[in-house]
Assembly symmetry: C2
Homo-oligomer: 166 residues x 2
């Protein structure tokens, strides 16, 4: 039992202990991932939910409420509460759809775009430094594993964003 005691020795990275470390890495990394925007938003009347809305409206200008709902995976009541404050504060603007007048297309105002920039600058700074420290090959692996971890439905959403992402 010197070596080769496991089924097929290239599979040591699939041991429960390795998987557990991956789980904990996700937990701690996600904390870091959200901490910079959270810090910026605290004190303003906004939170993580506002950040997400602003992010995806920036990402896909003109997206509809329903589309945003399916990306964010929350109820319309929950999203609506967030959108209302963003309208009221003049960060987001809704234009009635041309083709389908029931739809409301969402856009950031200049003020909204300014907030989005502040938030995403902070978040990108952390990603950039992590990416730089890890190197391109690690980044490739990072993205591969994350994609494999998504629910198929969410993966489609994610990949959909990629394409129309400018």
């Amino acid at each position: 039992m010197a070596e080769g005691s496991s089924p097929s020795d290239g599979l040591l990275f699939l041991t429960d202990e390795q998987l557990r470390k991956g789980i904990e890495a996700m937990f701690f990394a996600y904390r870091g991932f959200t901490s910079d925007p959270d810090r910026i938003l605290e004190g303003m009347d906004y939170g993580r939910a506002h950040h997400r809305a602003v992010h995806f409206i920036h990402r896909s200008p003109g997206t509809t409420v329903g589309n945003l709902l399916s990306i964010l995976g929350v109820t319309k009541q929950s999203l609506n509460r967030v959108l209302r404050t963003l309208f009221d504060d003049g960060l987001v603007e809704a234009r009635v759809g041309k083709a389908d007048k029931r739809e409301r297309h969402l856009f950031l105002t200049d003020k909204g775009a300014a907030l989005e920039r502040m938030l995403s600058d902070a978040q990108r700074a952390r990603m950039r430094s992590a990416y730089r420290a890890a190197g391109p090959q690690a980044v490739q692996g990072f993205r591969t594993v994350l994609e494999a971890m998504m629910d198929p439905e969410l993966r489609r959403q994610y990949q959909g964003l990629k394409e129309n992402g400018q």
Copy 2:
């Protein structure tokens, strides 16, 4: 401007667009990451906070309340609410410290261990399938980037867990 239009051509993985994709990958992957345990816990009177407590008590049996507080990064009031229900339901047990009687050392009961297993089996299954699909090299990169993304303080916690991790 055919190729080589960027400062130093190995750095294309640091463009804003690449970073944005990484950010979105974290967002969607984390949703998948938490969804299986969430599904199991819904209906029981527990939530994500209970899962985290149970996870780290399993991981470091005999850990103290204070230690758990620093790992989870929440207030004692918040943690206490969670621990109380776990005590009441007989999932977690506290033993007064021998050396320092102010400390309470936390352990899972059999019932608690059973819940932990159910939750971590589900979560590991997802990780395992993602790891398998991505391959060992990608997994290596995944872990490297996540570690680089953590706050230094949290990274120490994470690495501390690694060592005493069985």
